[in-house]
């Protein structure tokens, strides 16, 4: 597909249908100890996180260090394997693409085949089984299973498991990342032109000559000039390197870009330059961003919707305007009040949270925030509040949502 066509396709997508759906994502990292490196515990980095991202929007993911925001991004891109949960991109289940063969089969069997068969048994007929599914995506797969493959699990599995290598490649083309540290994320032994063009050449989107021409164009797009093409990363400043990182992410013209703390290592004047570039690029190429950052002011500037994470969970998810006009979760309220505002006339009334973030190995019972929450009551340490929609599109996980005022 040519360049313009891809951009056109991205521009033409219906913004009311999610481009990316993350369902009940869980990622545990084993903690090993002893002579035999036995698994003694798990770091529950991401624990049941669900969200959607719509075409051409920016979802901001904000939280303090150790809340799991980076792990969400990494798992989404399958730089970490999922522990459980489902990641659907553009109506395709991508969860099993990168799993080892037998694990992928097991995943498909458990997620689809067994579940559908049970449903069919319970509901009596194929049609009512399909009808009973709530998720549009599940319905689609169920039809594929029952109608196309006549409920034959081996045929179904064969289709799903076929061409996994190609599917992986397509996935890598569609989802790209911009890293936090512009110093360690560029290969010091490669010239800038090769760093940028490498992706296009590997994915056979262009000949080497075309790819290099494209790299030169992209360098201009991100505010560098083509004379920088033959230099090495160490010849650039932090801000310029971050631009090179952006150009590299753009060379495949991806659908989704995960920007993981993309500006937090930069000085303020350079940070503004990079944020402005990202904004322009989104409009020009129809990009969809998952923007991960700890700086709520940066998040406010770039995002359309914002998800606030605390200790592996999303505690609040809403549009930017809603969350700033009316934050409902006490953590969100405290986070906003903790940030010093660069205006001495507006000295804010601070809500200073007590204590530190607890360990994700052994998170508190009930609501994970209850140990630091200024309005916690007895129920909070016992029952975990689910993430529920309080108002239109404004989700929050708190027993006393909206009760804490700024």
């Amino acid at each position: 597909m040519t360049e313009d066509k891809r951009t056109e396709l991205k521009m033409g997508r219906d913004r009311s249908k999610p481009l990316l759906q993350v369902e009940n994502l869980v990622k545990y990292f084993p903690v090993r100890a002893g002579v035999f490196r036995r698994v003694v515990d798990y770091v529950k980095a991401v624990d049941d996180v669900s969200f959607e991202i719509y075409p051409r929007e920016t979802l901001g993911l904000v939280g303090e260090s150790g809340c799991g925001k980076t792990t969400v991004g990494m798992t989404l891109l399958r730089l970490h394997e999922t522990t459980s949960g489902r990641i659907i991109i553009e109506g395709k289940d991508t969860t099993y693409y990168f799993m080892p063969f037998f694990r992928a089969r097991k995943y498909l069997k458990e997620t689809y085949v067994n579940r559908f068969n049970d449903l069919k048994e319970k509901a009596g007929s194929v049609n009512s089984a399909i009808e009973s599914l709530e998720n549009e995506f599940d319905k689609k797969i169920a039809r594929q299973y029952f109608e196309k493959h006549n409920g034959s699990s081996s045929d179904f599995m064969k289709e799903m498991m076929s061409k996994r290598e190609e599917k992986r490649k397509a996935f890598r083309r569609e989802a790209q990342i911009i890293f936090q540290d512009p110093y360690s994320s560029l290969n010091p032994r490669m010239r800038v032109k090769n760093i940028i063009a490498e992706g296009a050449i590997i994915h056979k989107l262009a000949t080497r000559k075309e790819a290099l021409k494209k790299a030169a164009d992209l360098l201009k797009t991100v505010g560098l000039s083509s004379e920088h093409m033959s230099r090495f990363p160490h010849e650039f400043s932090g801000g310029q390197r971050q631009r090179i990182g952006i150009a590299r992410a753009l060379v495949l013209n991806p659908d989704i870009i995960v920007a993981d703390e993309a500006v937090s290592a930069l000085d303020v004047s350079i940070q503004a330059q990079v944020l402005n570039i990202l904004n322009d690029l989104q409009e020009r190429f129809g990009l969809t961003f998952l923007f991960i950052a700890h700086d709520l002011a940066v998040i406010r500037h770039v995002s359309d919707r914002i998800a606030v994470m605390y200790l592996g969970k999303i505690v609040e998810l809403a549009s930017k305007d809603d969350i700033f006009a009316k934050p409902l979760h006490p953590y969100t309220v405290s986070l906003m009040s903790a940030i010093p505002i660069p205006d001495p006339e507006k000295k804010s009334k601070r809500i200073v949270l007590k204590g530190d973030v607890p360990s994700p190995i052994n998170p508190p019972s009930g609501c994970r925030f209850h140990t630091r929450c200024p309005i916690a009551k007895e129920i909070c340490s016992k029952e975990e509040p689910p993430l529920v929609e309080m108002e239109d599109g404004h989700k929050v996980a708190c027993h006393f949502a909206g009760e804490m005022k700024r």
Binding site: D267, Q271, A272, L275, A297, S337, R350, V357
Partner: protein, 342 residues
Amino acid sequence: MNNNNNNKKPLLSVKELRTYFHTEDGIVKAVDGVSFEVYPGETLGIVGESGCGKSVTALSIMRLLDEKGEIAGGEIEFDDMDVLATPENKMRTLRGNEMAMIFQEPMTALNPVYTVGDQIMEAILLHQDVNEKKARELATDMLRKVGIPEPEKRIDEYPHELSGGMRQRAMIAMSLSCNPKLLFADEPTTALDVTIQAQILELMKELQDEYGMSIIMITHDLGVIAEVTDRVVVMYAGKVVEYADVHTLFKEPRHPYSWGLMNAIPRLDEEKEKLYNIPGVVPDPLDFPEGCRFNTRCPFATDKCKTEEPPLEEVEEKHFAACWHIDKLLEEIKRIREGESA
């Protein structure tokens, strides 16, 4: 805290300080003619981007430069004492006792093989005439004051057993254990999460009210500056470009760099369509531009800026700025304000 410094004598006065580093590639003029005063009980902010010389200024005042660094000129007067003429053994009694410092990264500033208590007691034993038992008592009290729970137990823990926020509290306890007159805080909250940053800033304010020391707050974060300082020095490429009290600076910046910086940061309290772009990058310290060092990035730069260096002049009462074209900046601000109201 106090804006009335008219009749007070400054605790610290720095005049035309120049600190050069002799590197293999040439001389780096990290601090090049910096002047300011700190009055008793106030907080002075030094703000600027990385490489502007703000940390080197602090290290020069404490005379903690490494062998490559050299104070090439200027005067530093601290509490009626000429710091640059003070012999090294006298400096040692001064550091930790009269002036103390807290650093950005508490894990590297604390010694990992000694307990927190040992390190605080070391400072106390060195500077105060007390025995070990009393020093331990004082250290425990100090840890309690900085809000470390169970100080009797924590005093025997090693730095790695504490969280980032707790380590920074321990650092503060150490630096305040001898009740210094001047505290340097070099990016004390940059490595911390915002909720922990709020705790630490709050703590520093409380302690300042209690002990009445002066603080020099070095940071790149304009939010922190607005929150805790009384007066501010804005630095760029080794020079002071603007120097004013905090309210004046934020309301009426007179240097294009300060103005640009304020408009370049995304704000939590208001929506900005587009961030102001300060074009280009901070110049190479080996090769600062001629004339005004900001001329390569300044929207108002003229030929004069490229050849003649603007002096730091009093533009209004107690408001200093180093720029040839303050009138142009004022016009621009006026134009923008009119555009907004129209």
